[in-house]
């Protein structure tokens, strides 16, 4: 198989682009897709400081690697979920990544913030901890960005993540989510930081290939709580579709962003208040994070 650009030996085939690339040309292609995402969705300016949420995964470390290479001033944020070896290993990889590049890494502990590590949340609530985990991560990312003066948080969500989320939202007709899903979420409140997903144009296999070719030491093992998760089911279904019809995933996502999302957007927007206890943004009076903290406290 030959590289589309230089004609040399290809290391990766991208059927959805009807292309194959050698290693250096693939890395160029990857960076170009990230630049395009940043430009088209006005994610951030060259002079802005970006807080990159890193988990030790191929996506988040790959993202940070690209942003550093492109010359963006970026600080990493690692959220320690306290999930046994998985958290220990993933934190170590983030620290090693940052140290090797002379980059700054902030670490926030979920246990300190919420009153229990994620396994403790699972015990206390007797439910899968995924909902509490996602809620805590979003809350703590926003809070860390505000506290350290960042105007934007970038996460490593890729095309597969976004397509699977979209698929789930449509299956259940979650019109609220459909109105809000986007690679760039603007700051709609002084206490809400802009959130961007610069890798949204790239599939998981593509981000994995980038991380591998860049010799990034990322965590391959999965979160132990993610077994049997619905998002993995959706990804599997979409990958079967993609196998039969290359380009299906990106057509699905891009088509939604261009023609689908506008149909669901609510012109009035949503009423945003400040939490009576912590001051963070909420649609109610007490934010979901503070409610979670209370639930944990009462369970102990």
């Amino acid at each position: 198989m030959k590289c589309r650009k230089c004609g040399g030996q290809a290391v990766l085939e991208l059927r959805r682009h009807n292309a194959a690339f050698c290693a250096p040309d693939y890395l160029d292609f990857f960076r170009k897709q990230v630049r395009e995402a940043i430009r088209r969705f006005r994610m951030f300016e060259k002079d802005e400081s970006v807080l990159v949420a890193v988990s030790g995964s191929k996506d988040s470390l790959g993202l940070w690697d690209v942003l550093l290479g492109e010359g963006y001033a970026s600080t990493g944020l690692y959220l320690d979920l306290g999930i046994f070896d998985y958290s220990r290993e993933s934190k170590a990889k983030c620290e090693a990544f940052a140290a090797a590049r002379g980059a700054k890494l902030l670490v926030v502990s979920v246990e300190e913030a919420v009153g229990a590590p994620i396994p403790g949340v699972q015990e206390a609530t007797r439910r899968p901890p995924c909902s509490a985990c996602g809620l805590s991560k979003r809350y703590l990312m926003n809070r860390a960005a505000l506290e350290h003066g960042f105007s934007v948080v970038a996460t490593g969500h890729n095309l597969d993540d976004e397509a699977a989320t979209l698929f789930g939202s449509i299956l259940h007709w979650e019109t609220g989510s459909l109105a809000r899903q986007s690679p760039m979420l603007p700051a709609t409140h002084p206490k809400l930081v802009r959130r961007v997903k610069p890798l949204f144009r790239l599939t998981e296999r593509e981000t994995a290939a980038y991380a591998f070719l860049r010799r990034i030491d990322y965590i391959v093992e999965e979160c132990p709580f993610s077994r049997g998760a619905t998002s993995l089911l959706y990804k599997d279904i979409l990958n079967r579709l993609e196998d039969a019809s290359p380009g299906a995933k990106h057509n699905f996502l891009y088509g939604f962003l261009e023609r689908g999302r506008p149909v669901f957007e609510n012109p009035e927007g949503v009423q945003l208040n400040e939490c009576a206890r912590c001051g963070q943004v909420t649609t109610g009076t007490l934010c979901a994070f503070c409610k979670l903290v209370d639930r944990i406290k009462h369970a102990r």
């Binding site: 198989m1 085939e13 191929k58 439910r127 259940h172 296999r205 994995a208 998760a229 993995l232 599997d236």
Partner: protein, 101 residues
């Protein structure tokens, strides 16, 4: 050929040589869900894996969260845990063959 699988890490011995495309089909693995690695190189679908080679089939799919609608749902069947049944079958078959008589 020695095939290393991940999540959890296992090794399978398969006899003969195959193209990557054929190997993935045999193991019922969708090509878009993995990286196929030999040493420090990525292999494309058309490349041949020799009998003496050692390769890793590394899953590229990560992440997971139970949707709100799955609250109280029964444990999800195997198909969308980390790998297809064919991989498990291949591992069990290889172990049976490796067992001394």
């Amino acid at each position: 050929m020695k095939v290393i699988l991940r999540n959890p890490r296992r090794e399978v011995e398969l006899s003969g040589r195959r193209r990557v495309k054929e190997l993935l089909k045999e193991l019922d693995i969708l090509p878009d869900t993995v990286l196929v690695i030999r040493g420090d190189q990525l292999l494309t679908a058309d490349q041949v894996v020799e009998e003496r080679d050692e390769i890793e089939i590394r899953p590229a799919i990560s992440g997971g969260a139970r949707g709100s609608s799955s609250r109280g749902a029964p444990e999800a069947p195997q198909a969308w845990q980390f790998e297809p049944r064919a991989v498990g079958r291949a591992v069990r078959q290889a172990r049976r063959e490796a067992r001394p008589e």
